[in-house]
């Protein structure tokens, strides 16, 4: 066998292995998504969104309480996490640029991004649930925002660093103070990138269950009260999927379908925003 044939065979083997690996990964992804879609679409109905749960074991009812609770928790988490993340990222990229402190915070943020979310849940449990003596929607929102902050912070930092320095110098040269340079010029240049990071971070936390089990817990009744345990889709899916009733299982599938769709929509929107930026 000459050397060219050998190379061809090696190339073929490499291609075969990597294709196989990609196929294995994709297979499970398609399988899971397909399963959620098949079971979910069939179980979808308008009552799911309009009604609160029927008594256990009784047919009918819906998950309005969980949709509302999920939206409340996610919204509050976003309201806490986005300002902290964006301002923190601004500090690192602008004011603390090239300092050891900024590097340490960046690295720590990257580590926190990969910390198991249940650890965040127990942390908030110790901080906000135990001392107050009860689970609450706020604790859930804070737990999710803790997961969001490092994502938003790092994206903001990266996006701001991508804005060329000459642009800042040009604004300084017109007599702008630094905070105006940041708000009026740098943020504008980085806006779509930061927005994408925010959308992706919302998508990231919207599907979390573990940190909510220790914080907002769950609630079988409709509630707006963020000071009390509040329902969330993810915790409800967990509860219903484990439950003994066929009607619960169907609703869990429907809820899983809706939340998957929501996250998919956010992710696609995030990517569209990014694409739109590069077209400019």
């Amino acid at each position: 066998m000459n050397i060219e044939q050998k190379r061809k065979i090696e190339g073929f083997i490499a291609l075969a292995f990597s294709s196989l690996a990609a196929f294995i990964g994709l297979f499970w992804l398609v399988f899971i998504l397909g399963d959620v879609i098949i079971h979910g679409i069939g179980a979808l109905n308008i009552s799911l969104f309009l009604n609160d749960p029927a008594p256990a074991g009784v047919e009918g009812g819906g998950l309005r309480h969980a949709f509302v609770g999920q939206l409340m928790i996610t919204l509050c988490a976003t309201l806490i996490g986005v300002p902290v993340g964006v301002l923190g990222g601004t500090f690192l990229a602008e004011y603390a640029k090239r300092t050891r402190f900024a590097k340490i915070i960046s690295v720590l943020s990257d580590i926190i991004v990969s910390v198991p979310s249940i650890v965040v849940g127990t942390f908030i449990y110790a901080l906000l649930v135990r001392p107050l003596g009860h689970f609450s929607g706020w604790a859930g929102a804070v737990a999710l925002s803790v997961i969001m902050i490092p994502v938003v912070l790092r994206t903001t930092e990266d996006m701001l660093s991508m804005v060329p320095w000459t642009l800042r110098e040009a604004a300084f040269a017109l007599g702008a103070p630094y905070y105006k340079v940041i708000i009026q010029v740098v943020y504008r240049g980085a806006a779509t990138g930061i927005l994408t990071g925010i959308l992706l971070s919302i998508a990231r936390v919207a599907g979390e269950t573990a940190p909510l089990l220790f914080t907002s817990f769950n609630n079988n009744f409709f509630s707006w009260d963020m000071n009390r345990p509040i329902a969330s889709l993810t915790a409800t899916i967990f509860q219903y999927a484990m439950g003994p009733y066929e009607s619960w299982h169907r609703q869990a599938w429907a809820a899983a379908f809706v939340i998957t769709l929501f996250i998919l929509a956010l992710t696609i929107l995030g990517r569209l925003v990014l694409k739109w930026r590069y077209k400019q």
Partner: protein, 254 residues
């Protein structure tokens, strides 16, 4: 008659990164309503000198000015100078066009708003005047609300010049303003510089000696952080006093 002095550099030394001695004992007058060119090989300190005039070095740590730059009878190198008002009096145009990520009109309005001009009709008026001034008006009058990034490189550079002009500065500093542009855009900007000197004093750093010869009244030649020779452009290019200047302009080095 000698024209009035706009800016006077006296025994200027400049250090950055703690101990790099970038400018050595530089003294020169900059005349009002003149175009003054600073030429010299790469690393000679011409851009460093230019950036002293609007204290751009202050954005970075570990710099030190020694000596004086007198502007309106005050030394602008002292610590308590208000950099915001200094920079609105002494504008700057950079090597690469630096339009802000905004519309064409907003770009011009930016400096005006910094100055506290909020009146809408005055803003519109001054945007138009600045664009006409920078010979860009006829090209952009129909798309003032388009993104500044839609313009060509040469148009962007004239937009940036218009933005600098809009705040009505006394001096505009140009840091190799045409080195990123094609010959036609370059010619337009050179023509513009000639017209602008009626109203503003211009200091331009350029790599291109022909450009200095075409646009400048006065030329300073820098080498290794020192001002080797400074005088009327014609004299510098035809009959310089120093051998180093002669060697540089005849292309023997740099």
């Amino acid at each position: 008659m000698t024209p009035a002095i706009e800016l006077e550099v006296k025994n200027l030394n400049f250090y950055y990164n703690g101990d790099i001695h970038a400018l050595r004992d530089i003294s020169l007058p900059i005349y009002k309503n003149n175009v003054t060119a600073l030429i010299g090989p790469s690393g000679c300190g011409k851009t460093t000198l230019l950036r002293c005039f609007n204290r751009m070095h202050d954005l970075y740590p570990n710099h030190l000015y020694e000596g004086e730059i007198i502007f309106e009878e005050k030394n602008i190198l002292v610590r308590d100078v208000d950099l915001i008002s200094l920079r609105s009096r002494i504008g700057m145009v950079f090597q690469k066009p630096t339009p802000f990520p905004m519309t064409i009109a907003e770009n011009i309005a930016y400096g005006l708003k910094l100055k506290g001009i909020k009146n809408k009709s005055e803003l519109i008026d001054r945007i138009e005047r600045a664009l006409k001034h920078a010979a860009l008006w006829t090209e952009v009058r129909d798309k003032l609300n388009a993104s500044a990034y839609e313009l060509s490189g040469g148009q962007q550079q004239r937009l940036v010049i218009a933005r600098a002009l809009a705040v009505e500065p006394d001096i505009i500093l140009f840091d190799e303003p045409t080195s990123a542009l094609d010959p036609i855009s370059t010619a337009k900007i050179e023509e513009l510089l000639g017209n602008l000197k009626k109203e503003v004093t211009i200091i331009i750093v350029t790599h291109n000696m022909q450009q200095a010869a075409r646009v400048a009244n006065m030329t300073g030649f820098l080498y290794m952080g020192e001002l080797i020779e400074y005088g009327a452009t014609e004299k510098i290019f035809t009959n310089p006093d120093k051998k180093q200047t002669d060697d540089y302009i005849t292309g023997r080095f740099g």
